[in-house]
């Protein structure tokens, strides 16, 4: 149940970011100055926290999606679906523990340039 709710909420959030992300990338075609100005909006602390949330949503949707594939495609998947949901949460926590410090240091120190 919770995996279904989270899969739906993260999917909707990622979809709306995707719309914006195609449009911001399209400004490459206008000029380097315009693109760099638009991308500047992603480099603020508030957006940095939003990006952390976005990556968290993507990683969850990806891992839980793989779990859904296993449940649907294997004979043993349904029997172990709950166990696999806990594995999804643990792997999610490990990947985010690796990603978050690196990302947040970049966001709050202006990048390691």
């Amino acid at each position: 149940m919770w995996s279904w709710v989270l899969h739906r909420i993260t999917g909707i959030a990622i979809y709306f970011f995707l719309l914006v992300h195609v449009l911001d990338t399209a400004t490459l075609r206008i000029s380097p100055e315009v693109y760099n100005g638009v991308l500047g909006a992603y480099k603020t602390p508030i957006m940095g926290i939003g990006e952390a949330g976005l990556v968290g949503a993507i990683v969850f949707h990806a891992l839980n999606g793989l779990r859904i594939i296993l449940v649907d495609a294997t004979s043993w998947g349904t029997r172990h679906q709950k166990k696999m949901f806990y594995i999804v949460l643990v792997v999610w926590a490990i990947l985010m523990a690796g990603f978050l410090p690196r990302h947040l240091i970049n966001v709050f120190t202006g990048g390691a340039e």
């Binding site: 739906r8 999917g11 909707i12 990622i14 979809y15 995707l18 719309l19 195609v22 449009l23 990338t25 399209a26 490459l28 075609r29 000029s31 380097p32 100055e33 693109y35 760099n36 991308l39 992603y42 480099k43 940095g48 990006e51 990556v55 993507i58 990806a62 999606g65 793989l66 859904i68 594939i69 649907d72 495609a73 990603f99 690196r102 990302h103 970049n106 966001v107 202006g110 990048g111 390691a112 340039e113």
Partner: protein, 133 residues
Amino acid sequence: MSRLKLERLGWIFMRVSGFILVALIFTHLIVNVLQDGGVHSIDFAFVAGKLADPMWQWFDVTLLWLALIHGTNGMRVVIEDYVYRPVLKRVLLGGLGISTALLIVLGTLVIFTLDPCPAGSPADLLPSFCSAS
């Protein structure tokens, strides 16, 4: 094709595209957001430098199409689950289809027609290979 067959095809597409998207998006995030400097290093020079390579053009265009179609089919299911009023449902599904078609065309054109060294732009904003030769 019958409605049922179409739904089954959509169901298979979500699994196949989802599996491929995991690899594509994790690569996309590692190359762009986990590079030195992370999101702060993303600018015109970085992206245009990548898109000058046909390998990244085909990588990004595959990601664009699969992600948009996967996301659109997901949103279609969400709309069909929650919107019961026939007119509103038709408006939302129509808007969804039109916006996806436009974004696929726009994104594909940007990927394949981007000039990494536009004339008249300051060299320090461009990929380093623009000033070579």
